[in-house]
Symmetry: C2
Subunit: 202 residues, 2 copies
């Protein structure tokens, strides 16, 4: 098995070890044992335990990024693509905090260990919102002269539905209604921007 050892196999095993022992107790020796190799073989792929843990974190976030690809459909308005995307993100976040809280806490610990990882992750998600807004601009559904800044504003205006600091509010029975009202307001804001340039009615 040692000669077939790939970085990917190590990352899969590390995830499994982290799930089983938690981030505080999981060691490189545990990972090597799970793979039936020496810990030296693991270190040939990842120079330090920190590097291994950061690689696992990035792999986890990459999977989220793939799951969060916007669902553009034939003729679907950008406002609907945005609404579905924000709902998907909110549902994912809510689920992490109920069903998978232990796993979520594990990854939260890992994310906290690597500086820049959260920033890159948020930047990626804001970039996906920017793609949806750009699609709306292309079809004249939305107008804005600054897509990245507007995407950041949409992200910031929906913090209550994705920032972990608000997790304790996500069990509130009225939360879906609050989400709907904010998304409607935001989508209306994205549409309105074209009105001033079309009619001078600013």
């Amino acid at each position: 098995m040692a000669e077939a050892l790939t970085a990917e196999a190590i990352l899969v095993a590390t995830e499994e070890v982290l799930r089983r022992y938690g981030p505080a107790k999981a060691t490189v020796v545990d990972v090597a044992k799970a793979l039936g190799v020496s810990h030296g073989s693991v270190y040939r792929h990842f120079a330090t335990k920190a590097a291994l843990r950061e690689a696992v974190t990035r792999r986890w976030l990459d999977a989220i990024h793939r799951e969060m690809e916007p669902a553009f459909g034939q003729g679907l308005p950008a406002s609907e693509v945005l609404r579905e995307w924000l709902q998907r993100l909110f549902d994912k976040k809510r689920r992490s905090h109920t069903e998978d809280l232990e796993l979520f806490t594990t990854y939260k610990t890992l994310v906290g260990e690597s500086s820049g990882v959260v920033e890159d992750h948020v930047e990626h998600l804001v970039g996906l919102i920017a793609r949806i807004i750009q699609a709306g601009v292309d079809t004249h559904e939305f107008v804005t002269d600054d897509v990245p800044r507007t995407a950041q504003a949409v992200w910031d205006a929906t913090q209550a539905f994705h920032h972990p600091a608000h997790a304790q509010e996500w069990g509130n029975p009225h939360i879906q209604d609050a989400f709907d009202a904010v998304v409607s307001l935001v989508a209306a804001g994205l549409r309105y921007n074209r009105i001033p340039s079309a009619t001078g009615d600013a």
Copy 2:
């Protein structure tokens, strides 16, 4: 002095004692001492230490509510009243977390002791936003068929700029720009709602 002792005088003295000793150490005996009365005199106005602390908290929040009255001006658009109001709230919150952090922490402790106080406070502030939105509806600047729900949406969409869980982001040099972008988006959303009813352009 004992015969002139009013609830208001006790509350002023309690605030001073809380500032001086902090919420963990301040006692009713300290308050009575500061006023030159017996602690029995204090208990005649406030049956328990908890009741006294809750009264101080409500007095503090009432002062905030007075400071947060919307600044309606002759011919000022509702969107400008809303922007100024949200900016005033944001500036107040930011200041609490820098200049007056100790006092803020004291009040945060007190607020945490009385259930329902935070909810009442937020409800009051959302009610002030509703008054601004209603003013915009009255002048046909905004249209919404549900003012309270829209006011709640404006509150929720601006959480990043008033919810204490976001305080650590308020020192970020780009925070004012982020605030401006969210408020513009929200204000555009409030204006857009009139378009469908006016032109059928939904």
